[in-house]
């Protein structure tokens, strides 16, 4: 006896579905996971945080717990949007839980869900009167054209866990069993978004059933139960055949035989960390007080965790509080075609909109307009005052004259002023870089005939007002992958300088 139980539960399933046949049409030879007709797909704007929060709000509402009464949050997921950064803290912040609450992320395998529950049990056992929130969400992305593409689904569940002596507990957790198992049949290497899969599903199936059998056996022994004492077994399901096979292997009853919803994998796919607990929630919605069950959660290449539980009288009132049940979520669905699904899996990527809002460069047409005159150094010589205007203008900068002849800008100039840049925007250039303004030698205008540019790598300390420079063509930068050609100053230290 753990003395700990569930005070409230909630679930979330995205409303999009993709049908198995649509995936098979796209990849006829890719193989499949048997018995899965369709699966739930997270939309662009759904992830483990949004789904987890939806489920958690329902669990908190059922338990009638206020946000500030939650002492700990344990979040289990394999599909965090971050390799490093807590998503549990994001969920904590969104739900408005106390900042002092103990908050854990459990990641890395589909055992993260069962380990989140175990963490909550241990926390409540060691902190009397405390309440812990468990949030489990998964949205694993399959590698395209592999069998898991037909099976991996998105969903979330949440439980509020507290002490049994609080008579609001609707499901008492009696015993716990774990087994670990290194078995590399599914994995996602660092830096990848997509789950890989060992091509022979037999290896995984054998391991899964061995683990579930061992856990259920251990739990029966531990609680000194006979098979008849246990009304149901629910578990993770890798495919549509799993539930039946589990029942057969363990000799325990499949809830489906009592017309209780089970085998959710056939409708929403394999929801990873929360798969077993979706089936548990279906059972909580359909079973009777006094009944006992076993739930076993499997994490590929990690192992299995399971617990025995007993439903209490409190369950009847608690589940009436639900405004949307798991069954409602299953029935609320719309279908995607394969292309729409592929976009949501990130298989089809779209180039960013131009101009890139971060580039600082106004627009592509602007670049085109100015390219020719800047690069070919086309300058205008004012017909009225003789001032050189570069780049082109409508009114002469010195006399407002409007008639010009086009000339090639002379390339020799003298530095009028400059700075030595020790701080630059992040760029390949190595500071210090001299940046300044020079007057074209022989130019007559007061304002006209100046050019501003950076200097090529040189000894900055030798640059003086009056140093002679030459305009030379260089790559002056890069934006959106386009090299930006322009002119830089090449100093000629032998000539000039004050």
């Amino acid at each position: 006896m753990t003395g700990v139980g569930i005070l409230g539960y909630g679930s979330y399933i995205p409303s999009y579905r993709i049908r198995f046949k649509d995936i098979r049409n796209a990849w006829p030879q890719a193989g499949s996971m048997p018995g899965i007709q369709e699966k739930a797909v997270a939309d662009f704007d759904e992830d483990v945080v949004t789904m987890g929060v939806e489920a958690a709000e329902k669990a908190l509402a059922m338990s009638e717990l206020k946000e500030d009464q939650v002492d700990a949050l344990f979040m289990g997921t394999t599909s965090s949007p971050f390799a490093e950064k807590s998503v549990a803290v994001i969920v904590q912040t969104i739900l408005g839980l106390p900042k002092e609450a103990l908050v854990y992320d459990l990641n890395s395998s589909c055992r993260s869900g069962s380990l989140a529950i175990r963490s909550a049990i241990d926390y409540v056992r060691s902190n009397n009167e405390s309440k812990a929130l468990v949030v489990i969400a998964d949205n694993r992305l399959p590698t395209m054209a592999t069998p898991p593409e037909t099976s991996l689904g998105a969903a979330a569940v949440s439980f509020v866990v507290g002490a049994v002596k609080d008579n609001k507990v609707l499901c008492e957790i009696d015993g716990w069993a774990s087994v670990s198992n290194e078995h590399p049949t599914r994995w996602r290497e660092s830096g990848s978004n997509y789950l890989r899969f060992h091509e022979d599903p037999r290896i995984e199936r054998d391991n899964f059933f061995d683990c579930v059998k061992k856990i259920s056996g251990d739990l029966l022994k531990q609680g000194n139960y006979s098979k008849e004492d246990i009304n149901y077994i629910v578990s993770s399901q890798m495919d549509g055949r799993a539930a039946g096979q589990v029942s057969k292997d363990t000799g325990l009853k499949n809830p489906s035989d009592s017309n209780i919803l089970n085998n959710l994998v056939t409708q929403i796919g394999d929801a990873g960390s929360c798969a077993a607990y979706l089936n548990l929630i279906a059972l909580l919605d359909g079973a009777q007080p006094g009944e006992r069950g076993i739930v076993v959660s499997y994490g590929v290449a990690a192992g299995c965790d399971g617990f025995t539980f007993k439903l209490t009288d409190a369950l009847v009132e608690a589940r009436k509080k639900q405004t949307r049940t798991l069954e409602d979520l299953l029935n609320d669905k719309q279908y995607l075609d394969y292309v729409a699904f592929a976009k949501r899996m990130g298989y089809l990527e779209v180039a960013p909109i131009l101009p890139d809002p971060n580039s600082g460069y106004p627009s592509q047409p602007n670049m085109k307009r100015e390219m020719e005159e800047i690069l070919s150094l086309k300058a205008q010589l004012c017909s009225k005052c003789g001032s050189i205007n570069f780049p082109k203008r409508h009114y002469c900068i010195d006399c407002r004259g409007t008639e010009f002849t086009t000339i090639k800008l002379p390339r020799k100039a003298k530095i009028v002023t400059f700075n030595i840049q020790h701080v630059l925007a992040i760029s390949p250039e190595e500071p210090p870089v001299v940046v300044g303004t020079a007057k074209i030698i022989g130019a007559t205008g007061e304002r006209g005939g100046h050019v501003s540019a950076a200097m090529i790598t040189c000894d900055a300390d030798k640059v003086k007002v009056g140093t002679e420079v030459e305009l030379i063509l260089r790559v002056c930068g890069e934006e959106l992958g386009i090299p930006k050609y322009g002119y830089k100053f090449k100093p000629c230290f032998a000539n000039g300088g004050e």
């Binding site: 809002p357 600082g360 460069y361 670049m367 100015e370 390219m371 800047i374 690069l375 570069f390 780049p391 900068i397 009028v416 002023t417 400059f418 700075n419 030595i420 840049q421 020790h422 701080v423 630059l424 925007a425 992040i426 760029s427 250039e429 210090p432 870089v433 940046v435 300044g436 303004t437 007061e446 304002r447 006209g448 100046h450 050019v451 501003s452 540019a453 950076a454 900055a460 003086k464 007002v465 002056c476 930068g477 934006e479 930006k484 050609y485 322009g486 830089k488 004050e498």
Partner: protein, 392 residues
């Protein structure tokens, strides 16, 4: 009857928030706090319904690439709904130009009592993307080199000034030391600490000849003032301050079109216009808030606003001219250097400083009976300048 070119519009309230890295405050939070501080500063109180129109000075769109910054950017947070609100963006002159345009509306007799708010959120971008490190938003990578940062485009002038007049780094380092000293006495200052001449000269270089302590900090902030007619001012206070002169001048943005690198013609022109409107000369100014975005900018501005002769800014600070006890004390608020420079808020915060100085409320930095105070802004690359003159 007012003659053409004469101006006398009353300031009856001025408020601001403490500038700084205000990560916890949104743009709206800052605007509301400055607005409330301004309302509370009105001696006899003010009914908010008496505010008929408002002007908002901010560069928020360009600096943060926030889309559509307009009148509603002010009316929405303040809840001053369906009133006429005009948004003014004119680089570092945005706040002062907002005051100028609001004053014109009052002087024209269109509105009686109006509000001006200046506000800017600058620290929402990392320092590497700030004006100090990044090229200016409007600069062009093909024409302007990558290194054309704010300290570079302003710093070009001091390099030329050094070459022509023998000005030394010590001269503008003194500006930084002075402004930090006065800023340490200002409760609204972002950097409330003193620095020594050695610290300024030995600080890491940003854009030679400018070092770290020659540059103002990138800060968030907001400030607000209430303007009204001379007649109406009596309802709010027995001690109004008046805007009596204003000038603004727009020159060129591109460094390659500039006429001079040893002064800023735009400042000279704006000052000329403002002095003429006020009917006074630089000698009449008792206190000034100058645009020390960089210490060297303040130094050269002494010349451009006529506090000393061309080329003599170095000797003028050496002789004590801009200090508290000097000829024309400059930036007794700590200036942009110590107080901070949230672009759109800066001109309004300068008006806040002069408002309090002319009303005798500056405590440790209070002057004896000052009569005229001047504010100055220089924006873009030194391409737009504003001078406002306040008097009693």
């Amino acid at each position: 009857m007012r003659k053409k070119g004469e101006l006398r519009v009353a300031l009856v309230g001025a408020g601001m928030i403490r500038f700084g890295e205000l990560f916890e405050q949104s743009f709206d939070d800052m605007v509301v706090e400055a607005y409330r501080d301004c309302l509370n500063s009105v001696d006899k109180g003010i009914d908010e319904d008496e505010i008929e129109a408002a002007w908002l000075g901010t560069c928020q769109g360009s600096l943060l690439r926030r889309e559509i910054v307009a009148g509603f950017t002010l009316s929405e947070p303040l809840g001053l709904l369906l009133k006429p609100v005009t948004r003014v963006e004119n680089a570092c002159c945005s706040g002062s130009d907002a005051i100028r345009n609001a004053a014109f509306a009052v002087a024209a007799g269109i509105y009686e009592t109006v509000l001006v708010v200046g506000a800017e959120k600058m620290r929402d971008v990392p320092t590497r993307a700030s004006l100090v490190a990044n090229r200016g938003i409007t600069s062009h990578l093909w024409m302007h080199p990558r290194g054309a940062t704010a300290p570079q485009v302003f710093g070009q002038n001091v390099t030329a000034h050094m070459a022509k007049f023998g000005t030394k780094r010590e001269h503008f380092a003194k500006v930084a030391v002075k402004n930090h000293l006065y800023g340490s006495m200002n409760e609204k200052s972002a950097l409330k600490f003193e620095v020594t001449l050695e610290q300024v000269l030995n600080a890491p270089l940003v854009s030679w000849p400018l070092g770290l302590f020659d540059c103002c900090p990138t800060t968030d902030g907001a400030a607000a003032v209430i303007l009204t007619t001379e007649e109406n001012a009596k309802r709010y206070t027995d001690n109004p301050v008046f805007l009596v002169g204003t000038g603004i001048s727009a020159d060129v943005f591109g460094s390659f079109w500039k006429k001079s690198f040893t002064n800023w013609p735009a400042t000279q022109q704006a000052a000329k216009e403002a002095y003429k409107m006020a009917g006074i000369t630089p000698k009449d100014i008792d206190v000034a808030e100058l645009h020390d975005c960089f210490s060297s900018t303040e130094l050269i501005t002494y010349e451009d606003v006529g506090f000393c002769e061309q080329g003599k800014a170095g000797p003028w600070i050496d002789s004590g001219g801009p200090y508290l006890e000097g000829e024309i004390p400059c930036n007794l608020s700590g200036g942009l250097k110590s107080k901070g420079h949230p672009v759109g808020a800066t001109g309004v915060a300068q008006a806040h400083e002069i408002f309090n100085q002319l009303r005798g409320k500056k405590g440790k930095t209070q002057l004896k009976n000052p009569r005229y105070g001047l504010t100055h802004n220089l924006g873009g690359t030194g391409s737009v300048a504003n001078v406002n003159i306040y008097g009693l």
